[in-house]
């Protein structure tokens, strides 16, 4: 996981899945209900990244990014979970480099599950309902769960200073980094 040019020493213990929020609301009328929907978006979503603790250096490196007060690229993980239907000429094999038929993006399979594959080394966002293929194998994606690089701004970054009895002097505990999604990177 990278934030700007900084690669985090380890990933957060808890973090908000960068999944789009729906913009939807409803009003009750006298005898019915009206629903207004504007689709879904990640823009404006707050991503909370929490660590039980982190090293002083890691905290300071992140604090430098916070102090820079500029937009950053947040690359959560270059992996995607791709759910698919029947695999023609299957099954998938780890190491296959699949290509999205619509998006044109590619990724290398690192794990083959039941009805899904995990790909890494991806260069863009796969799309639901698109076909993926490698060599003679192909399938249609029924769902995509993919964290992709985002442009973010750090909203807040807080932590508590551990006591002197801690095994590492100066380490930070209960660290929380809040990112605001500005758009896709």
């Amino acid at each position: 996981m990278k934030l700007g040019t900084y690669t985090l020493e380890w990933t957060p213990d808890n973090w908000t899945l960068p999944k789009e929020d729906r913009q939807i609301d409803f009003v009750k009328t006298y005898s019915s209900v009206a629903v207004f929907s504007w689709g879904a978006t990640l823009i404006g979503k707050k991503l909370e990244l929490e660590w039980d603790w982190m090293t002083r250096k890691m905290f300071e490196d992140l604090a430098i990014l916070e102090a820079a007060d500029t937009a950053l690229t947040f690359d959560p993980e270059q992996k995607a979970y791709l759910w698919h239907g029947t695999v023609t000429n299957g099954p998938w094999v780890v190491g296959d480099m699949v290509t999205g038929g619509t998006s044109g993006h590619t990724g290398t399979i690192v794990e083959v599950g039941y009805g899904y594959i995990v790909v890494s080394g991806i260069n863009g966002k796969f799309e639901r309902d698109e076909a993926i293929s490698y060599s003679s194998r192909s399938a249609t994606l029924s769902n995509v769960e993919q964290a992709y690089p985002l442009t973010v701004q750090i909203l807040s970054f807080v932590g508590e200073l551990a006591g002197v009895t801690a095994f590492e002097a100066g380490r930070r505990e209960k660290v929380k980094l809040v990112l605001l999604v500005m758009g896709e990177a």
Partner: protein, 1242 residues
């Protein structure tokens, strides 16, 4: 249903599940090119010679010369929203001449600049990051001694990666364009010439620039000096093409084809945004601008006798008059209004236009006297004076587009009726209206009248322009009889007049071109009319013998123009006359540019720094000594402008100027040339600080070869030049930067072609976007808020978006619906930004609130002075007046045939377009609207309209509430109209006038004519004289006496009172004769003590009688009573009654309305019924909220069930507010798309 939607979009309105869309686009109401531009900074230090590149990161990077030793590097963020400046110091005593820049491999920015320092021209290079950090410090890459000449370095990175630098150079008498190359921007080759055939090496080539087009060809552009004439130069734009990355160059190709010295082309810059296309930007340089009656919109006749500059509206008014027509009289040709920023005719008026000058000014045997007819701002006077005594002034208001006639006499021959009263009457004794002068601030029109013998009267006064007319009063300030001698009268014709309100002074002069006539100058106090100074050669030997014909006040000195006279000890007086009002000393200033006797100085104006601008005009005057002079009293210096130093000053080389005006904000001088017998006539504009320069562009296309079209202005301003342009990275948006000259200050301006700017990314979620429309005649209103308020802030000059939501921008709105992934749209109207507010508060995000209204926002200010007298149907009147005044296209006026229409006989005066439109619509029961497609329409206000939209259930209704708070108890409406006939009305007797005075032994009989009003127009009947004090109270009742009304005007405008007193003149004469006889009888023959007592007694009696008689005077005091007579339109009325409501209330509540458009009783009754219906419906007013339906609009009749009873209700929609709110994702904030409706249950 008022709005017809796309079928899919219409179906979506009925769905319970909506995907609403909104779009707001910002654009300009006028084409974006030519650019008007905004200043890049507010610096007062000179900024000039910008260069710009589009950086691959998306930034714009600009560099320009700042002051003497500095450069400014200005870059934007990658989204091009904000400028950030970085200052580069070339060092003490270094003078930066010009600079250029290019993007280096790797993204840094290379800068090349030329400086002069310590006897050398130095070419210097440095490298910055795109955000201005120094990557490589400055280094010198080339040097030439300043005995040579170098200019205008320009650098580009070629596709090969080579950096190619070119610059203009001269050594000895050999000109060339030199080049240097580099592969790393650090090490540069030695300079070598770009060898271009087809040019003379002794002719200058300058301002080279480069562009490598998509074919790989490198174009070298430059301006080339083709020839010279005196100091004037003819330059054109040329180019040469290299197909080998600058190693060799093709023959020069000429682009522009300027052939004279009055306009030339310099400083080419070229950009390419697509293969086969090229845009060449260059500067057109002129010494002056000229215009005559060959210009579009200027009628025949261009003897520019008087010119006036309006500095607020930036318009020049030119009054053109024929010097002599076929009958030997001067007449008005026309008056022209010129936009000085575009140098185009706005409008021209004569006796054929609307409005028109009366024909007496333009045709026939009438003198149009234009001795001094000085306008102010947009009030332009033209005077006419003719024998027998006829004084008339036409005052053009160039902004209101009206001409007001002030007539001091009736002129039945031409159907003219006197409408100015208050000027003393001297009969027909050679009266002349010599001069007029407008004071815009005080709203006064001053006029000077002179009457010949035997009276020789001089009258100076004014008409208060605040008077509404149709009759006006003239207030006399100066009324002198005895000081006017025949010689003064004769010289006034060639003299002048001036008013200086700031000093409470005015002056008049008389002048003669020769002979024995002596001229004069008289200075008066405006407020009292008292004479402050009088000058003539008898009173002050220093004063010019023949007087001054034009003059100006500066401080406490009057400067005057006069003609040379070799006699009367005047032989040493030449040039300019200076009269010190404090010491009365007179001195003369002789122009330094020529040794002449007569310099023919003409008219004056002054600069903001106290220098005098003087026209020099003589028809046979030697060339090159006429034109326009600037005289500086501070150091007694003269500066001359004419064809010898202003290239193309006049088209035919005529150095002669007459009328004069000055633009102090730009330093532009305007002068008019008259009398075509001696050459070209028209108006000329030139700048005291140098050339008039404007950036133009030419588009080129490639088919089999490059073909270039005609040039067009890139910028609006005439002092906006040396523009550089660049296309935005990956887009078609064009950015331009240029030098703007405002007098001696140079600034960099910029602008861009935005097209339509989509505000979607900036509209605030969680915040209402509301669009309100109603039938009440008010404008449609749009309100919303945007993020990035600091970028939209019009005062943030560092923001590239500061103009997007500036007041006056156009906002186009659309609503829509996403259906099955497809966006369906429907227009919601165009609006004008009227308000923008933003609050900066630390810790709070700067949001900006915007308010906009439809184009009717201007209608309230569109003043209608007078429409034609219409005899038309209402819809025809609207279709005529709206395009005329609001500028709407005829095709945008969509009107039905009005119900109950009839031909309106009406003329609207002193009203606004808004009021006029509303009056017509209301009369016939309609309301006006600008619909969603920006068309003007009207809709019927009626309880009988067909139902537009049926809501069969309450599934769309959120809220419902009766609201009769705006209603009253009106159950009868009475409408009073006016018949087209009028009747005479006799008012009760009233006191009209009071008269007081004195009569005496000399009196005998005195007749006093009493007008019933000051302006002599009031009509009264049955005058009666009330005598408070009679002349019968003579101190001794010698011979009786009395007073009575002895005559009454046939037209009932005046009556005469005759005061009859004893004629004691004969008695006085007799007594004097008796005393003389007594003296003859007694004094010569007697000596003391010899006068007998009886003789003394006789003398005593005679003297007593004489004293008694000559002491006999009487005062009188009368009051004149009479009954005023007037005429009134016959009033007619009609009414309508709500009988049921009257019965319910048990009383009648009446509302009375005046309606001048109703001319019959039936029409009054129709209006009354309409108004009663509205009053009744107001009591049935309701408010409700429903989900938005794009089919509904104001004026619709909707049907929906009562939320409780379920019974259908028909509702006429009076107000509809469409609210759109997008929720903030993930926060739980609300979102909706609703219609708040107010209406009447029918």
């Amino acid at each position: 249903m008022a709005q017809t939607l796309d079928a899919t979009l219409a179906a979506a309105q009925d769905s319970a599940s909506r995907r609403p869309l909104l779009e707001i686009m910002s654009a300009s109401f006028v084409p974006e090119i030519p650019f008007d531009g905004q200043l890049l900074t507010s610096e007062t230090t000179n900024e000039q010679k910008p260069n710009v590149i589009a950086h691959s990161s998306g930034r714009l990077c600009t560099i320009y010369v700042f002051g003497t030793r500095y450069l400014k590097f200005i870059y934007t963020d990658t989204d091009r929203t904000v400028f950030t400046p970085v200052t580069i110091d070339a060092g003490a005593n270094h003078t930066v001449i010009d600079a250029s820049l290019c993007e280096l491999t790797g993204g840094n920015v290379g800068i090349i600049y030329l400086e002069s320092y310590s006897g050398n021209y130095n070419l210097r290079a440095m490298v910055l990051s795109p955000t201005g950090e120094v990557v490589s410090a400055v280094s010198t890459i080339g040097t030439h001694p300043t005995t040579d000449w170098a200019n205008a370095p320009f650098v580009r990175r070629l596709a090969s990666g080579t950096y190619l630098l070119v610059y203009a150079y001269k050594t000895g008498s050999t000109y060339s364009i030199q080049k240097k190359t580099s592969s790393d921007f650090a090490t540069w080759s030695a300079s070598s010439e770009c060898v271009i055939s087809g040019l003379s090496s002794t002719n200058r080539r300058d301002n080279p620039s480069l562009v490598q087009i998509t074919t790989g060809d490198v174009f070298l552009w430059f301006d080339y000096l083709e020839s010279t004439s005196g100091t004037a130069e003819l330059t054109n734009i040329y180019y040469s093409v290299s197909t080998d990355s600058g190693s060799t160059w093709g023959a020069a190709v000429k682009l522009t084809n300027y052939t004279g010295y009055d306009a030339t082309a310099i400083h080419p810059i070229v950009v390419q945004n697509a293969a086969g296309q090229m845009r060449v930007v260059f500067t057109e340089q002129r010494g002056s601008l000229k215009m005559d009656d060959t210009a579009l919109g200027w009628f025949t006749g261009d003897n520019a006798t008087n010119i006036t500059f309006d500095p607020v509206k930036r318009k020049l008014y030119v009054v053109n008059s024929r010097p002599f027509n076929a009958s030997g009289y001067k007449t008005l040709e026309n008056v022209v209004k010129i936009d000085v920023d575009t140098w185009e005719v706005d409008k021209c008026w004569d006796n054929t236009t609307v409005p028109a000058f009366d024909a007496i000014f333009c045709t026939g045997a009438n003198n149009v006297n234009l001795y001094t007819a000085r306008g102010d701002r947009h009030l332009i006077p033209v005077t006419l004076s003719s024998n027998p005594t006829q004084f008339h002034i036409a005052l053009l208001d160039g902004e209101a587009d009206s001409i007001t006639m002030f007539s001091f006499q009736d002129w039945p021959t031409y159907g003219i009726t006197k409408n100015v009263n208050g000027l003393s009457d001297y009969g027909v004794y050679g009266g002349t209206a010599y001069h007029v002068w407008v004071d815009y601030e005080a709203k006064r029109l001053y006029a000077v009248f002179a009457f010949g013998g035997p009276s020789y009267a001089l009258i100076i006064g004014y008409i208060d322009l605040g008077q509404t007319g149709p009759d006006y009063n003239f207030t006399e300030i100066v009324h002198e009889v005895t000081p006017m001698a025949s010689t003064m009268f004769s010289t006034m014709a060639s003299g002048s007049f001036a008013v200086w309100p700031d000093t409470d002074r005015m002056a008049i002069s008389g002048w003669s071109s020769g002979g024995t006539s002596k001229g004069f100058l008289r200075v008066y106090q405006i407020s009292t009319g008292s004479l402050i100074k009088h000058y003539d050669v008898d009173a002050n030997v220093g004063f010019p013998y023949h007087g001054v014909h034009d003059f100006i006040l500066q401080g406490e000195k009057i400067y005057g123009a006069f003609g040379y006279e070799s006699l009367y000890s005047q032989q040493d007086r030449r040039g300019l006359c200076e009269i010190d009002l404090l010491t009365d000393t007179v001195v003369y200033h002789r122009p330094s540019y020529a040794t002449l006797d007569n310099y023919y100085l003409q008219r004056f104006t002054a600069t903001e720094d106290g220098q005098l601008i003087i026209t020099v005009n003589a028809f046979t005057f030697p060339a090159s000594t006429g034109g326009v002079d600037i005289y500086d009293p501070a150091d007694d210096t003269w500066q001359q402008f004419n064809n010898s130093n202003v290239p193309g000053f006049t088209p035919d080389g005529r150095d002669s100027a007459y009328s004069i005006a000055y633009d102090p904000s730009m330093g532009t001088i305007f002068t008019g040339l008259t009398n075509g017998v001696y050459g070209w006539t028209g108006v000329v504009a030139f700048n005291r600080y140098g050339f008039i320069r404007q950036s133009l562009y030419i588009d080129g296309t490639y088919t089999t070869s490059w073909a270039f079209g005609a040039s067009s202005p890139l910028v609006i301003g005439l002092f906006d030049y040396e523009a550089v342009v660049v296309y935005e990275p990956g887009g078609m948006g064009l950015y331009a930067f240029w030098t703007n000259q405002r007098k001696e200050e140079l600034s960099v301006k910029w602008d861009k072609v935005v097209g339509e700017f989509d505000l979607d990314s900036y509209l605030l979620a969680g915040s209402d976007i509301a669009l309100k429309r109603s039938i009440d005649g008010n404008t449609n209103k749009l309100e919303f808020s945007v993020s990035h308020g600091h970028l939209f802030d019009p005062h943030n000059t560092l923001s590239l978006m500061s103009f997007i939501l500036r007041k006056g921008r156009k906002l186009s709105v659309r609503f829509g619906e996403k259906v099955s992934g497809v966006d369906y749209w429907h227009p919601a109207g165009t609006f004008v930004v009227t308000e923008g507010s933003i609050s900066y508060k630390r810790g709070e995000y700067p949001k900006m609130s915007i308010r906009a209204e439809d184009q009717r926002v201007w209608w309230g200010d569109l003043e209608i002075v007078a429409t034609p007298h219409y005899e038309s149907f209402p819809e025809d009147i609207l279709a005529d007046v709206i395009p005329n005044y609001a500028g709407m296209d005829v095709s945008d006026i969509v009107l039905p045939t009005f119900d109950g229409r009839y031909v309106l006989w009406h003329q609207w005066m002193d009203t606004s377009l808004k009021k006029m439109v509303e009056q017509i619509c209301e009369r016939f029961g309609y309301f006006p609207l600008i619909d969603v497609e920006d068309k003007f329409r009207v809709r019927r206000i009626s309880d009988a309209n067909a139902t537009d939209h049926v809501y069969s259930d309450t599934t769309k209704i959120l809220e419902f509430s009766p609201d009769d708070s705006f209603s009253d108890f009106t159950n009868r409406v009475v409408v009073v109209g006016e018949n087209r006939d009028s009747i005479e009305v006799l008012a009760p007797e009233e006191r009209i006038r009071d008269l007081n005075g004195v009569v005496g032994w000399w009196g005998h009989k005195k007749v006093i004519r009493v007008y019933y009003s000051d302006d002599g127009t009031s009509v009264c009947r049955y005058p009666r004289l009330e005598i408070t004090q009679s002349v019968r109270n003579f101190n001794f009742k010698l011979g009786g006496g009395g007073e009575s009304i002895t005559a009454v005007d046939y037209y009932e405008k005046w009556m005469e009172i005759t005061i009859d007193t004893p004629n004691l003149v004969a008695i006085v004469v007799s007594l004097v004769a008796a005393i003389v006889l007594w003296g003859v009888t007694w004094i010569p023959v007697t000596a003391p003590p010899g006068i007998p007592g009886i003789a003394l007694f006789e003398l005593s009696i005679l003297l007593s009688l004489l004293f008694y008689v000559i002491a006999s005077i009487a005062t009188y005091s009368y009051a004149v009573w009479a009954r005023p007579v007037g005429r009134e339109r016959l009033h007619i009325q009609g009414e309508a009654n709500d009988v049921d409501f009257q019965a319910e209330l048990g009383r009648v509540v009446t509302k009375k309305i005046d309606d001048s458009l109703s001319i019959t009783q039936d029409q009054c009754a129709q209006v009354a019924a309409q108004e009663l219906m509205v009053a009744r419906l107001q009591r049935n007013r309701v408010r409700f909220t429903k989900t938005a339906d794009l089919r509904d609009e104001e004026g619709d009749t909707l049907q929906l069930p009562h939320p409780q009873a379920g019974l259908p209700m028909r509702i006429f929609v009076t107000d509809i507010t469409r609210k759109f709110k997008k929720p903030i994702a993930g926060t739980g904030s609300d979102g909706y798309f609703l219609d708040d409706i107010e209406g009447w249950v029918l």
